[in-house]
Symmetry: C2
Amino acid sequence: MKRIFLKVAYDGTNYCGWQKQNNGVAVESVINNALSELLGTEISIIGASRTDAGVHALGNIAVFDTDSRIPGEKFAYALNQRLPEDIVIQESKEVAPEFHPRYCECNKTYVYRVLNCKFPIPMERLYAYFLYYDIDVDKMQEAAQYLVGTHDFASFCSVNAQVKSTVRTVNYIKVTRKKDMLYGEHDIISIEINGNGFLYNMVRIISGTLLQVGMGRMDIKEVKDILDAADRSKSGPTAPARGLSLVQINYL
Amino acid sequence: MKRIFLKVAYDGTNYCGWQKQNNGVAVESVINNALSELLGTEISIIGASRTDAGVHALGNIAVFDTDSRIPGEKFAYALNQRLPEDIVIQESKEVAPEFHPRYCECNKTYVYRVLNCKFPIPMERLYAYFLYYDIDVDKMQEAAQYLVGTHDFASFCSVNAQVKSTVRTVNYIKVTRKKDMLYGEHDIISIEINGNGFLYNMVRIISGTLLQVGMGRMDIKEVKDILDAADRSKSGPTAPARGLSLVQINYL
């Protein structure tokens, strides 16, 4: 038996999320089906991050065990031929059998994208949250620094999440304004967050809260008060799923 | 009666192109329906560029005549409320009644985008042509310069096009390699072409030909021979529609 590691990119638009649910097709189910077909036996991958419906990924990680003679690095090619265009394996390799994508230490990078201009660009409608308000990125960046470090992030966790501890470590947050990806004519605000683990909806609630600051609806220092309160009702709205992408997971 | 000018952005993926056809929904039909509904009378817009199925636009131009009392600049807001998310009016204004989007002198800017990396990114599948080959952008840029100026572009025109003259003026072509729009991890090759008019499929045939040069399948100087031959069978393949966007039309 060997353990195969997959780096998975997907457009989350047409899926109910990474994990199997009753209300749609899951990314993991599509990969399980492709793998089972390829190997002629039932395969269930173990994923690193259970992204929500509509959330995208460039580098989610999954593993599975097989005694197939296909070399680890060839699985990407074999699987991509069987996967739909909106799910693409970016890398495959053999890893140690004890490697577990959820229990091994890692840090994750998410990017939340906001399209900030007068009218939306159709090509961005599934990959960015459109806001036409004036947004002060420097204020967002300043407010974000209260969240860097090890804190109780209960204010930035969906109330229906069931976790033992709401303490997490955020390594950095960078809020930047760039020209848009497609033609360089429109502004994209990018909120890049790296941490050692995230609570349910944490990046989207942080993004929604920082955007309140950027739009001048919340003072910079309120973000510290919200963090200290450890109360979800104090923070801003959960920003829409489509703006969020899981960019990378680094195992330490 | 006044004439209203519309700057139209659209994701061409779900349309049979700008113009009404028998095989799908046209962008102009969707706008005509929204306008007719808004104004309570049948409206037919006149478009500047008849983009093909799958081709995108940030700034196609259209006009229509109305005696409505809605101020010109308000049509963008009123129409966007009635249009699907993949068609967005970027600007509206009143123009002189003699302004005609096809007969007035202008130059147009198109961008052809190629995603150049090992495996495709799902979020780019509808907005870029994926190629994993090594591509030499400097060679493409050099070859492109043969096409700048006023030439007979018969070699770069679909054989089924019916036009009086195949002479056109290309003002500039810029081929550049940039980091991808979404996350800056993947390479996008951008072929930006500006000219005073384009033949049917001209930008896609130029792009397909320059890519042959970039991949080393065609010499730089062959592009001059192809231009001189005035024969479509000499040039490269028509690059896929999804990589192409009509970015801007400037009226002089």
